[in-house]
Structure formats: structure tokens, C-alpha cells
Symmetry: C2
Subunit: 130 residues, 2 copies
């Protein structure tokens, strides 16, 4: 399988596949005589694994670990679970941050006329030191 087909199969862009290889997320692909990268079904499987991990918000660093754990059949599930829960915690912190911002901005926007007049509580807030 050449990279284009592996891309189609896995749903991961060919460019991105090369990138993942270059940063060591996935193993270096075997090469054909002409120098083309060759992929097996197992390789495609890894790519799908990476894609799914990205969709769950893991960083590339975390994914590197996850791929390692996945391929190591003697891993402890504790390690995976801790990685996942740490990630969940980070996402929850991010959510909290965003919600705070949304709350503040919604409040400010509610008190803003939103017409052709220039006075605007949003700008007033931004311009105020706290």
C-alpha cells in the first residue's frame, strides 16, 4: 500500500502521515525500490489509533505514549487510565476557563445596547484595570 491509499484507508492525510513519521509517532515506513513508503494493514491500524486519540483531544506527546502502551502487551492498565484521567482533568480545567469567559462576556453583552450609539459596556470593561 502506498501512502495515498493508506491515507484514504486511515482517514489521515498523506502529509500528516509523513509528519507523524518524522516526529516519531509512528514507526518509519518500509520503502519500495523507488523510495515510496509502503504500508501494511497494521500500519493503517496505528494511524486510525492516532486519529481516534486526536479526536479525544490527546496531545501528540500523550499519543506517543499511548501508541507505545498499546503495542506493549504487558502494559499495566493503570498507566493508561492515569494518562486518560490526567487528560480529562486538563480538559475540565479548560472548560471551566472558557465558561468563566463566556459568562463574563455574555453579561457584558447583555448590558450593551447593540445599536448605533457609541457607548458600550464591553469596551468600558476591557478598558478598566482590575
Amino acid at each position: 500500500m502506498k501512502i495515498g491509499e493508506a491515507a484514504k484507508e486511515s482517514g489521515v492525510n498523506a502529509k500528516l502521515i509523513r509528519h507523524y513519521e518524522s516526529i516519531g509517532i509512528i514507526p518509519k515506513a518500509a520503502r519500495s525500490e523507488a523510495g515510496y513508503r509502503k504500508y501494511s494493514e497494521a500500519d493503517v491500524h496505528i494511524l486510525k489509533f492516532v486519529k481516534r486519540s486526536r479526536a479525544l483531544g490527546f496531545s501528540m506527546k500523550e499519543i506517543k505514549k499511548l501508541v507505545g502502551l498499546w503495542r506493549n502487551k504487558s502494559r499495566a492498565s493503570l498507566e493508561v487510565k492515569n494518562l486518560a484521567l490526567k487528560h480529562v482533568e486538563e480538559m475540565e480545567n479548560k472548560i471551566q476557563e472558557l465558561q468563566d469567559m463566556v459568562r463574563t462576556l455574555r453579561h457584558l453583552a447583555k448590558n450593551c445596547h447593540g445599536d448605533s450609539r457609541p457607548d458600550c459596556p464591553i469596551l468600558e470593561d476591557l478598558a478598566t484595570s482590575r
Copy 2:
């Protein structure tokens, strides 16, 4: 006021102040004879405005607009309000995304022993095409 003092006053790092100037977020600072940037209280005020806007999650592009609107006394509050509400909407989308990921991962983690055994529903999920 030199850049260090302006940084302390505004809470914006000196390095970041230069960066903001270079990308046109804030006007080019006046210079002393030796070439040092000089800042007024008004400049510090702009820096605080930018800082506060960042804290509310606005992108630099949006902040550029906001600074422009703030300094333009004949602006319409509608424009500011729309900018703010568009930003709120984006943040709410992001929150939704994150919540979906958290929900999925929490569910997977709950079914994971989290001990020394290797079998792990989290990895199984990641390895499954959908």
C-alpha cells in the same frame, strides 16, 4: 517610561509588548535619543486593554479590531457587541467539543480496571475504527 516600567505597570511582559508593536496591535512607541521605547500612561492603558481582552479569550485579530473600536469614539456599540457574541459562540462550541471528549473518556476510564493487568477498554476503544 521605558519598556520595563510599562511592563510592570501594565502587567504585560516587555518582550510581549515589543511583539504586540511588531504585529501592529499597539501603535509604534516613541523613542528616546538612545533608541529606547518611551511609554505614556495612555500607552499603558492600551496594554491593559489588550491584556484584559486576552484574558477573555479574544484572538489577536479580534483584539486589533477592539482596540480600533475603543479608540474610535464614533464607533457603533453594535459592532462591538457582534464581535463579542461571535466570540462567545466560538467558545461555546469549543466547550461542547471538550465536554463530549470528557464524557467519552470518563466512560472508558470507568470501565478500566486501573491495575497491573494489561487489558484496558481505553486502548481497545482507541484501536477500534468507527
